[in-house]
């Protein structure tokens, strides 16, 4: 018998901050900790987009890093 238990999760927003001389994008990542275990993906994406809407940087991608405890 094995079990999977949620430990914690973080939301990572990757932004384009500008372009270098070769016209390649420069990125920065902003991390938000303390994402709970009961969130839905739809809600998390909505929150990510809401946060990004206040920034002058362009949102490139949204990711979630989740740690689970296996036993």
């Amino acid at each position: 018998m094995t079990s999977v238990n949620f430990v914690n999760a973080t939301l990572r927003l990757k932004y384009v901050t500008g372009y270098n001389e070769q016209n390649e994008p420069k990125f920065t990542t902003k991390t938000y900790r303390n994402v709970n275990g009961s969130h839905s993906t739809v809600d998390l994406v909505a929150v990510a987009n809401a946060i990004a809407s206040l920034s002058s940087h362009t949102l490139d991608s949204i990711s979630k890093v989740e740690t689970t405890d296996l036993s």
């Binding site: 709970n36 969130h39 946060i51 002058s56």
Partner: protein, 74 residues
Amino acid sequence: MTQVLELQFETAIGKTTVLTIDAPKPTITTAEIQQVMQTIMAKNVFEGQAGTLVAIKGARIIDRQVTELELAIA
């Protein structure tokens, strides 16, 4: 000048939690900020040791001025 927008929330046990956003839009309005804060609370995806976010406490923009100094380094 670099700017950071700080969103301050009150949590279930009465503590303050701050979310920061880099380089806020210069055209940002307080109505937009309040709407985003409402969305964050309504979706209820954040919950730390201090509990869920239950109320808006405030918001502020922090300006940071960094001046590089020219040093004669041998």
